[in-house]
């Protein structure tokens, strides 16, 4: 008990020293929390942007559709399955689509395009399609009219202004002949030329009628609250809807994006490693100076008969107090910082920002506010702090009274 008291007194007696040590630790926590929250936030933001473009976080198809994306592999709409999916706790929104190729022609011009039948009300919850309308209007609620939204690039290629009519020709379900006339009510803009040059949206029932595929959908598109439980959610949905369906995450659908993210995550781990190394050196430097400063005092304590073991216990208590207080303070201090970076994300400007906006992305690096981050980083620094606290103990163990007392 008196050891604890002594340790406590030591900490108080030299307040500036204690403060420096504790702030070293808390700054370490603050930095590593901020870093990892930025790293997480950047990926989350990127993924959210990517999937809200087109694919959604998860898609559900009839087994075999992904391998062979033809209408004959479409699924019959099943309200039971839909409600199972929609009621899954992690699922934010659900939209059905029917999708195939067609030739679009206007007068003399004919172009190949991708026809996507979407639910006018559900689709925007996943892809913000309504916000991508650059001219004209979006579909109406429960739209059943023969109207189409064209991507800007495609409209340009067809030399087709809003209000004109486009003729679509394709092969429908089971080889049926598909043909129809649709009035263009709006143009949508995508940053990626892939989409911008070839997609054409119809309301779902209209598209189904066009393809002679009443009540068929090629895919259910899901949006999730977070990317964190992606695989788990996909697996649990798969379990509950059965083997006739395939449940694919965006990672399976866009492996190249996943690869890029994995590579970037790898580099982030390296960066975190470097950060820890520097933080470790910072803490070590502080402890080192601490011991240099206290050499005389410790030597004197040993000289007047304090056992080294006891002294080590005292120092250990001091270190534990310092490290714990520092970590907790650091975690508390990082809350407002991370919160600030979350609410006012780092916003970049210039060419890059313009490019982002062209893609419909917000030009920001937001911070993630995942509570785990704080705990994990706090623990990492705590462990590092304890490990480094062994240095003062070692120093006491090897303390030589005579040299220590010589000033």
């Amino acid at each position: 008990m008196w050891l604890l008291k002594l340790a406590w007194k030591n900490l108080w007696r030299n307040r500036s020293r204690t403060l420096v040590t504790q702030s070293a630790i808390s700054f370490a926590v603050l930095l590593s929390v901020t870093t990892s929250s930025l790293q997480d936030g950047v990926f989350d933001h990127f993924v959210r942007n990517m999937v809200s473009y087109y694919s959604g976080y998860i898609q559900v198809h009839k087994v075999g559709y992904w391998e062979q994306q033809i209408l004959d592999n479409a699924a019959v709409r099943n309200t039971a399955v839909e409600s199972v999916i929609a009621n899954h706790p992690d699922v934010n929104a659900l939209a059905s689509r029917i999708e195939s190729y067609a030739l679009a022609s206007v007068d003399e011009i004919t172009k190949g395009c991708v026809v996507i039948g979407v639910e006018p009300d559900a689709e925007p919850q996943i892809t913000q399609l309504d916000q991508r309308v650059a001219s004209g209007r979006y579909f109406e609620h429960n739209d059943q009219r023969p109207v189409a939204l064209l991507s800007e690039g495609l409209a340009k290629r067809l030399q087709l202004p809003v209000g004109d009519t486009v003729i679509l020709i394709s092969q429908g379900y089971h080889g049926a002949m598909a043909a129809g006339k649709y009035r263009v009510i709006g143009l949508v803009r995508f940053g990626s030329p892939e989409l911008n040059d070839q997609v054409l949206y119809l309301p779902l029932p209209v598209a189904q009628a066009f393809f002679s595929a009443e009540n068929l959908v090629t895919s259910y598109v899901l949006s999730l609250a977070t990317d964190k439980n992606l695989e788990r959610t996909a697996a649990s949905i798969h379990r509950s809807i059965g083997q006739e369906y395939e449940v694919m995450t965006w990672k399976e659908m866009m492996p190249e994006v996943d690869q890029h993210i994995q590579t970037d995550k790898g580099t982030m781990y390296i960066i975190s490693g470097i950060l820890y190394l520097l933080i470790g050196f910072g803490i070590f430097g502080t402890l080192l100076m601490l011991m240099a400063e206290r050499k005389y005092e410790l030597g004197m304590l040993v000289a007047i008969g304090m056992k080294k073991q006891k002294l080590m216990v005292v120092l250990l208590i001091e270190s534990v107090l310092n490290v714990v207080v520092g970590c907790v303070a650091g975690m508390l201090a990082s809350v407002p910082v991370v919160w600030y970076l979350h609410v006012h994300p780092i916003r970049f400007s210039g060419e890059l920002a313009e490019a982002y906006q062209r893609f419909g992305f917000e030009p920001v690096f937001p911070a993630s506010t995942d509570g785990w981050l704080f705990v994990v980083q706090g623990i990492v620094v705590l462990a590092m702090g304890f490990l480094l606290s062994l240095y003062p103990l070692l120093k006491v163990w090897r303390l030589d009274v005579v040299t220590a007392m010589r000033k």
Binding site: Q68, I109, K111, I271, G282, G285, T286, M289, E293, F365
Partner: protein, 406 residues
């Protein structure tokens, strides 16, 4: 002045371990900064190489209206002369003329929208490495008509094997629909899944004949032997062919440009964070050094050392530490980055993610970031100096009478 520096210098050697810790921190900060830059340069270089050498090449030449309309009539006439002329320009490594037709691919089981590229196989191999990308079949063979090379994703999607037959439908230069049967001579794999699903290659001679085009093409892809030569080559082409549309990879692949700039921007953010870590290390260690010398500093003030000098004393100490730490850091970064640049860093072993075989390499080859070296050096030195301000100010605020009572 001399006295200050020599005192600072001796102060450094008072506690060698401390000074070494600060020097290592500074060296490490420099290594960290350069390494992050090098890492990203490696990653970007890799992606850039993929984009340039496997997809879009450095520059592309089109009829100004072609990309908007994809109409067969917007073609480049006297293509062979044009190609020869471009090939003879400085820094040009390879040139490939392509006839481009958007169309439909149909088999007995399904159909897909595709972009048909009519190419001279040898030229295309040289520009986008088509031959190296083949995973099945041997590609175009001489003296055979109507061969097609398709992507693996497309092959899977519409159930095509090597030697399967398929029908391509597209519009010719007179805007008539043309259909022709082709046989799969090869299946390629690339790192770009959407392209792999959409691009199919046929021999230019076949496509031109079917489209009723003589010596013409729609697209000329130009690969240079140096990335740096791009602007000059672009200007030269613009001067030679003011009526044609000349675009560089940044315009052709805005996503890549986006990605590169994103990476550049956030690598700076992380460098700033790393520098904060470095700064805090220096501040704390130097602060402790000042606290350790409280009495002595108090005495110096009592003897009449003024604030500026005292400030300079602590500042000089940090400057010297920085100047000794920095070269170490430079050397270390150079060794580290060149070594890893040769052996590569296996990202999959770090991130724990299995890198599946999509033609991606999980190895990163960092490159020494010569171009950002001054920036990083500057940032590290500024950081060290800023960091030394705190302990210097702390030294100033010591009150001599109290300092000496300790």
């Amino acid at each position: 002045m001399n006295m200050m520096i020599s005192m600072a210098w001796r102060n450094i050697w008072r506690n060698k371990v401390r000074s070494v810790v600060i020097m290592i921190s500074i060296a490490l900060g420099l290594v960290a900064g350069l390494f992050i830059m090098g890492l990203y340069e490696g990653v970007l270089n890799d992606r850039l190489n993929t984009v340039i050498r496997q997809e879009v090449a450095h520059l592309q030449v089109h009829h100004p209206r072609f990309q908007r309309d994809y109409e067969a009539v917007f073609c480049l006439d006297s293509a062979s002369r044009l190609v020869e002329r471009i090939r003879s320009l400085e820094n040009v490594q390879a040139v490939s003329a392509r006839t481009v037709a958007p169309g439909m691919l149909a088999t007995s089981t399904g159909s897909a929208g595709v972009q048909i590229l009519g190419v001279m196989p040898v030229d295309e191999d040289a520009v986008s490495g088509l031959k190296q990308k083949l995973i099945e079949g041997e590609g175009f063979k001489a003296n055979r008509h109507n061969q097609v090379v398709i992507g693996r994703k497309l092959a899977d999607k519409v159930n095509l094997r090597l030697n399967s037959k398929l029908v391509l439908t597209f519009t010719d230069s007179e805007n008539n629909l043309v259909s022709a049967a082709f046989r799969v001579a090869g299946v390629y794999q690339s790192t770009n899944a959407p392209l792999e699903e959409r691009l199919v290659y046929v021999h230019a001679a076949d496509l031109n004949r079917l489209m009723q085009m003589e010596d013409a093409c729609h697209e000329i892809a130009v690969l240079l032997n140096r990335d740096e030569a791009m602007t000059t080559a672009e200007q030269q082409l613009n001067r030679l062919y003011p009526n044609l549309l000349i675009e560089n990879w940044q315009q052709l692949s805005p996503e890549t440009k986006l990605m590169i700039e994103t990476t550049d921007t956030y690598s700076i953010i992380f460098i700033v964070i790393i520098m904060l870590a470095l700064m805090f290390g220096i501040i704390n260690t130097m602060l402790m050094a000042v606290l350790e010398r409280t009495r002595e500093i108090g005495m110096l003030v009592a003897l009449g050392m003024n604030k500026l000098r005292l400030f300079m004393l602590v500042l000089w100490e940090t400057v010297i530490l920085t100047l000794t730490g920095a070269p170490f850091g430079l050397l270390l970064s150079w060794l580290l980055i060149t070594h890893l640049g040769n052996s590569g860093i296996d990202i999959s072993s770090i991130s724990g993610a299995a890198m599946s075989g999509f033609g991606f390499s999980s190895l990163i080859f960092p490159r020494f970031p010569w171009s950002s070296l001054p920036l990083v050096l500057y940032i590290v030195c500024i950081t060290a100096l800023l960091a030394s301000l705190v302990p210097s100010f702390k030294a100033l605020r010591l009150i001599p009478v109290e300092a000496m009572r300790q």
